[in-house]
């Protein structure tokens, strides 16, 4: 490539060849880097630098106050003997496995409803998108917890239909479900992406199928779903990665101990607790890298399965 490029340029009509162009181009390059410099600095100093530091720290015993001490793979080995670490992996995995499908299904359902033209469509879209604007806010988590305490709205409503669970915030069997619902309620982002995907589904296909006598469900299964499968895949990927990193809402509801009875001890919460309450930064760094590794593997796995079910129009299949 490098040898071809200059010849091409020289051949280009109306372009003066030779060193002058070169100087100008390199000048453009500098200007480009200059404009990029805030971003470059950001990624170097605020992302890559800390990441490399944390990779180094993950092999050390580091208490924040004293210099880090090299311990090799100790932190990583210790994790597998740490009952709380295993617990946090379990809680997080269950959460991801339940919360992601629930949220995506809800987002898709809402998107399908909002896809039809009707009065006040803009209002409904805004109303459903609203909750995700206040996303990971502390106040929202506090309100959510209050809704799910003894004698609060949810408890009373459930009692009307004969379900006696008490406040979910204090019930280890329901505390995680409460957070799943909080996640699902904030379905705005995947919903908007689904909506965009639905707009791309050709109307002709639906019309043709309709003429052939296909019902609503059949059309959804055989036309809509395959046509939006890339969007489903994109949302699935994004939500999976996000769900592994849930923190704020869980911290507000369950605190650093994952109350009640450790059922909301998310991976990130345990990581934070180890690092900032117990001053075990080395261990916390190792945990962070394990999380990255785990999420990376799962993403890879999702990409593998995608070959089987994601359909890109233009594919010969």
């Amino acid at each position: 490539m490098a040898t071809v490029a200059p010849t091409r340029r020289a051949e280009a009509p109306g372009q003066p060849a030779g060193p002058r162009t070169r100087v100008r181009r390199s000048g453009d390059g500098v200007a480009g880097y200059l404009f990029l410099s805030p971003w470059i600095l950001g990624i170097l100093l605020l992302t890559i630098g800390p990441m490399l530091t944390s990779l180094y720290l993950s092999f050390t015993d580091y208490s924040l106050f004293t210099a880090p001490e090299w311990v090799g793979l100790d932190n990583y080995k210790r994790m597998f003997e740490d009952a709380r670490w295993l617990k946090s992996v379990q809680v997080t995995t269950i959460y991801v496995a339940v919360a992601v499908p629930v949220k995506l299904a809800a987002a898709l359902a809402v998107a399908l409803l909002l896809n039809n033209k009707r009065k006040g469509q803009g209002f409904y879209r805004a109303a459903f998108y609203g909750p995700s604007l206040i996303g990971a806010s502390v106040s929202l988590a506090i309100v959510w917890k209050a809704l799910f305490t003894d004698d609060a709205v949810v408890d009373r409503a459930l009692r009307v239909v004969g379900i006696h669970t008490g406040g979910w915030a204090g019930n280890p069997d329901f505390s995680l479900l409460m957070l799943v619902l909080l996640g699902a309620w904030q379905l705005g982002a995947p919903m908007v992406i689904f909506l965009a995907g639905l707009k791309q589904v050709p109307v002709e296909l639906h019309e043709a199928a309709h003429v052939d006598g296909a019902g609503r469900w059949r059309r959804f299964r055989s036309i809509t779903l395959p046509m939006i499968s890339p969007v489903v895949f994109f949302n699935l990927l994004l939500e999976t990665i996000n769900s592994f990193q849930v923190f704020t809402s869980a911290y507000i509801v369950g605190g650093p101990n994952g109350s009640p009875a450790g059922t909301t001890l998310f991976y990130t919460i345990y990581l934070y607790d180890r690092g900032f309450s117990d001053f075990r930064m080395g261990y916390a760094s190792a945990m962070a890298w394990m999380l990255l590794l785990g999420v990376g593997l799962i993403t890879l796995f999702l990409f593998r399965t995608a070959r089987g079910w994601v359909y890109y129009s233009g594919d010969k299949r």
Binding site: Y33, L34, L64, G170, S259, A261, G262, D278
Partner: protein, 422 residues
């Protein structure tokens, strides 16, 4: 050449950005008055009082300016750890007994012995608090207030249930019986007690009544597995019989206290919390003695509820020492702060403070058991805060019935020993 030129241009751009960023603070160096940064934990109520005290200090020391900042307890320590690690610790910081050794042994605190007798006078400290800020011969913190274990209760709840009010000499069995009677008489509308089993200091006071300690002098656990199993078993029985506030309720009301919400008739706790409860509820509350099976031994001591330290990196140790001296000795400061942080730590301030209502109750309570108070134990070992958290967490799982007493005991010892060894 071209590469070099490009490189220098980028470098120039980078340094420009840095110069811009650095233009912020740090212009105090040459100007007249010294600025001290002072961090503490507490809530907005306390902030108003602290600010008043600081104003008074600044009028008395016009060449010193104090910029305070505060968080809630947990957030405070998280921020303090990061600030300290980043070399950005405040000049003066509030210290907790449980963290004192952690910070002192890591060399991040200034030895105040160097200021003693010059800018700092600790001679007037209460007998029980003298030496409480020392670690391995150095003075790394000065107590500004003290508190002790006590029993806060509602006399109305007691009389309604027909239970005599607690008085000196009541035993742990009396305490459990009283709780049971109160809970039964209200039909479970009000509970006799709070989170008995999840309160680490209930165990400590029992150990001390038996002549043992929570942590030995050399920083190990001062009790064995059977002793902890006994404590857990007693507590578990209370929880299972629903005599004390059920754990699911306790979890839901956090960060509030059950006494603030009239959910329980009384609870053991630090005596200065009386003032917090009293501010939140209309129910009349009283302070009574801690139960003991050994009448001659209450197992109590005056604990420094709050201390003040100076960062080893502070450029103004003299002025910092002056600020601490002001907080412990100045009668005006004592008057402003009252018993908000616990009863003042010096005789002079105790005399200066005009206490009313719940504050007076706390002072009277401490006065009533004055002769029984022992010397404070040495500052707890590194990781004591982590161990207390483990205790709270494990006892919660125990109350939920997720683990058995034996499992809880094993888990606690595994975690505590691992923390103490690291």
């Amino acid at each position: 050449m071209g590469v070099m030129k490009r490189f220098t241009t980028v470098l120039a751009a980078v340094s420009l950005v840095f110069a811009g960023a650095a233009c912020g603070g740090d212009d105090e160096a040459e100007s007249g008055p010294v600025t001290l940064r002072y961090s503490w934990w507490g809530n907005a109520d306390r902030a108003a009082l602290v600010q008043k005290a600081i104003d008074l200090f600044q009028t008395k020391n016009p060449n010193i300016k104090v910029t305070p900042s505060f968080q809630e307890f947990e957030a405070y320590w998280q921020k303090m750890a990061t600030d300290t690690a980043g070399g950005n610790a405040p000049d003066v910081l509030q210290m907790d007994f449980a963290y004192l050794r952690e910070y002192a042994e890591r060399g991040v605190l200034y030895d105040l012995k160097k200021q003693e007798g010059e800018n700092l006078n600790t001679g007037d400290l209460l007998e029980g608090l003298k030496g409480a800020g020392e670690v391995d011969g150095g003075l790394y913190a000065v107590p500004v207030a003290g508190n002790t274990w006590g029993y806060v209760y509602s006399p109305a709840a007691y009389s309604k249930a027909g239970v005599p009010e607690p008085k000196l000499g009541w035993t742990w069995n009396d305490y459990r019986a009283a709780m049971e009677k109160i809970t039964k008489s209200t039909g479970g509308k009000m509970y006799g007690g709070g989170n008995y089993i999840g309160t680490y200091y209930n165990l400590e006071v029992q150990l001390r009544q038996e002549g043992k300690l929570l942590y030995t002098e050399d920083g190990k656990l001062g009790f064995d597995k059977p002793r902890l199993a006994k404590f857990f078993n007693e507590g578990k029985q209370l929880a299972d019989a629903k005599i004390v506030l059920p754990v699911e309720k306790g979890v839901q009301i956090k960060p509030k206290f059950a006494l603030e919400m009239d959910l329980i008739a009384g609870d053991l706790g630090w005596d200065n919390f009386m003032t917090r409860y009293a501010a939140a509820t209309k129910t009349e509350l009283k302070l009574g003695p801690v139960p003991s099976d050994n009448p001659a031994q209450l197992g109590q001591y005056l604990k420094p509820s709050m201390l003040m330290s100076v960062s080893a990196k502070s450029k103004h140790p003299e002025e910092s020492a002056k600020l601490i001296d002001f907080f412990i000795n100045d009668p005006g400061a004592g008057e402003i702060l009252g018993a908000n942080r616990g009863i003042p730590a010096t005789n002079g301030q105790r005399a200066a403070v005009k206490l009313e209502g719940p504050f007076a109750a706390v002072a009277a309570y401490e006065e009533s058991i004055k002769t029984q108070l022992e010397k404070a134990p040495p500052a707890p070992p590194k990781g004591a805060g982590t161990i207390e958290q483990a205790f709270i967490r494990i006892s919660e799982e125990l109350q939920y019935g997720r683990i058995s007493v034996d499992q809880a005991v094993d888990q606690f010892f595994t975690e505590a020993n691992e923390t103490l060894e690291s």
